[in-house]
């Protein structure tokens, strides 16, 4: 009933997560200046996905939640990816 058994994230872990996120942001900004061409989008999306995963895992405490919830979150992102892919079966071949 009470929130007692919840995991408590320490302040230092929060700081560490923030620093990692800021570093990743810097990388994604610097990456556009490297003129990677077609790979820029891919890189930007991969970095964004990594950042989102970190936010989900630590800030949103998924690491400490039960397996079922983690599967749900993963499933929702997967479903969205499938929907995008299927939509592009149309647009890619048009």
């Amino acid at each position: 009933m009470k929130n007692h058994d919840d995991h408590i994230t320490s302040y230092s872990l929060n700081w560490t997560v923030l620093i990692v996120l800021l570093i990743l942001t810097t990388i994604s900004i610097l990456a556009i200046k490297m003129h990677l061409g077609a790979y820029t989008v891919a890189l930007a999306l991969i970095l964004a996905s990594v950042k989102v995963t970190i936010v989900l895992t630590y800030f949103m405490h998924l690491k400490f939640e039960n397996l079922l919830l983690r599967l749900m979150v993963g499933g929702v992102f997967l479903l969205f990816a499938i929907v995008i892919v299927i939509t592009f079966i149309d647009y890619y071949f048009r």
Binding site: V76, I82, V83, I86, T87, I89, D90, Y91, Y92, F93
Partner: protein, 537 residues
């Protein structure tokens, strides 16, 4: 106020009285009834609109209304039936009334949110009505709101879109509530696989509700933005893509078909074991086919768009996926039939409706495969074949599932019995009228009668007349059925707690259920459909 010395024991219907005690109740059973009454009213309105359209089509040429009126009428018939009646339908009415009882809970997880979602629903429903009467023209885009027409039409499209958006929000909140309820509120001992099949079907449905509905929400917002701020997402003049609208629309609206039909499948999965007095055949198969339908059903939206200019590769991919989704549906049909096989079948009205559900749903399903395959779809696309197909699925499937549900749980909800005799008569009229109304549309569709036309080539006169006569018979059947239920609400014989000898939890408590469902929390020790258990004797 009700003194305990009165003869009628206290239950959820009489423990408090007055209109406000209903409008402010967070009791899941009362909210379910609020949905039932509002849905019935809107259903009757839309059914009358359908009848008027059929009268118009009784003879070629203009008979009782202009083409523009007809356009408005099929639009609002669609909006009311789809968004206000069928999508909330079974989940909001019987899901609300029975889900907590069937899993041994006292209420849903968020009772206040549940009441709130009814108010959201009723707001959306009245917005839908308002779009009819507000200054300006009645919306005439069809319930699908296809752009570019919906972006340019001068009728009250924005109000209708807002209505659909608001109704979608209500649907999301109900789905959210049910998922949490099923995860968190099951009685001790009720493991996932001891849960009856109606809750299972609601669980699969609820996931579609929360994951598909937001897509239509944002799509409708984009159309509103297109109309008010001239952002041309879908308008080719501004670089938009009208086919993209159809993608987004059907990403929701195809799964929405499963929001309609899955709970109906859940209902008949309850009815077959009870009236065969035999455990359901293939419990696990039915559970997993529900989940499979929900998942695969999410990925088949493109089969509505074979003639819209999609790439060839997309068309065959969607065709393939569409055929896949037929597999779990067929599995369920086999399981229901096998449940009856060798059981002591008692052909009471609920079972009669459940069997007609299988019959009509199978016709709808097979014609669905006709539409799912590329070549035949292009032949019959946008003809009355489509109209006949989805009325067999939605009315024959979800509608008859709903009628089965109301005849099955009526004694539980009201503690009264309807007249069996009248139920049989009403069923006969209804079933006959249904087939006379919709079956000719298959034939006329193949012959090339387009849908959404108020006029037709005189060669279709005979078919249209037969169909229109069917509409009258259907309406008479509906009146007979509803009168039987309404009249016996107060005049019927007192129903026992378990008139059908069911074994799921709702039959183990008094009829009508007490305010808090269970005097003490039930402890579940066995599978859901065990018929030789002591308490069923």
């Amino acid at each position: 106020m009700n003194d305990s010395s009165t003869a009628v024991p206290l239950n959820f219907l009489n423990h408090k009285t007055g209109l406000w005690s209903w409008l402010s109740s967070t009791d899941h059973k009362r909210i379910g009834l609020l949905y039932l009454y509002s849905i019935t009213v809107f259903f009757c309105v839309a059914a009358v609109l359908g009848l008027l359209m059929k009268i118009e089509k009784f003879a070629p040429g203009q008979t009782i209304m202009t083409a523009q009126t007809y356009n408005g009428m099929f639009t609002i018939h669609g909006i009311i039936m789809i968004f206000i009646v069928v999508i909330p339908g079974l989940a909001a009415v019987f899901g609300n009334i029975l889900l907590p009882i069937m899993i041994g809970a006292k209420d849903v997880a968020f009772p206040k949110l549940n009441l709130f979602s009814w108010y959201v629903y009723i707001t959306g429903a009245f917005l839908g009505l308002y779009s009819q009467f507000a200054h300006g023209h009645v919306p005439d885009t069809g319930w699908t709101f296809y752009v570019p027409y919906s972006a340019e039409a001068t009728s009250n499209v924005v109000i209708a879109l807002t209505a659909a958006f608001v109704l979608g929000f209500a649907s999301i909140l109900t789905g959210l509530n049910f998922i949490v309820t099923i995860h968190r509120m099951r009685a001790p001992g009720m493991t996932w696989f001891r849960m009856p099949l109606f809750p299972w079907s609601l669980y699969a449905t609820a996931w579609i509700q929360i994951l598909a509905t937001p897509i239509i929400g944002i799509t409708l917002l984009m159309v509103i933005a297109e109309r008010t701020f001239q952002i041309g997402f879908f308008d080719p003049k501004l670089g938009g893509d009208p086919v993209l609208y159809q993608h987004l629309f059907w990403i929701y609206s195809h799964p929405a078909v499963y929001v309609m039909i899955l709970p109906a499948m859940g209902v008949v999965s309850e009815i077959f074991p009870t009236f065969s007095q035999k455990p359901i055949f293939g419990y696990g198969a039915i559970v997993f086919s529900s989940l499979a339908i929900a998942f695969v059903g999410y990925l088949v939206w493109g089969h509505h768009m074979y003639t819209s200019g999609m790439s060839y590769q997309a068309r065959w991919a969607f065709s393939l996926l569409t055929f896949l989704v037929a597999v779990p549906s067929a599995i369920k049909v086999f399981n229901w039939l096998s449940t009856m096989y060798g059981g002591s079948v008692d052909l009471k009205p609920p079972l009669l409706y459940a069997i007609s559900f299988i019959f009509l749903f199978s016709i709808g399903g097979f014609t669905g495969l006709t539409l799912g395959s590329l070549a035949t779809d292009i032949q019959v696309h946008n003809t009355e074949f489509i109209v006949a197909h989805f009325h067999y699925i939605i009315f024959g499937g979800m509608g008859f599932g709903f009628f089965a549900a109301i005849h099955y749980w009526y004694p539980k909800i009201y503690g009264r019995m309807y007249s069996n005799r009248w139920a049989y008569i009403a069923w006969g009229i209804l079933f006959t009228g249904f087939n006379i109304l919709y079956f000719p549309m298959f034939i006329m569709g193949i012959q090339g009668m387009p849908r959404r036309y108020f006029d037709y080539d005189p060669k279709f006169t005979l078919g249209q007349e037969i169909s229109s006569i069917g509409a009258f018979i259907l309406i008479i059947g509906l009146i007979a059925m509803i009168s039987n239920l309404v009249y016996h609400r107060r005049k019927g014989a007192i129903a026992p707690a378990n008139p059908w000898h069911g074994v799921t939890l709702e039959w183990q408590i008094p009829s009508p259920p007490p305010h808090e469902n269970f005097d003490e929390v039930p402890v579940i020790t066995h599978d859901p459909y065990v018929f030789d258990h002591p308490y069923t004797k």
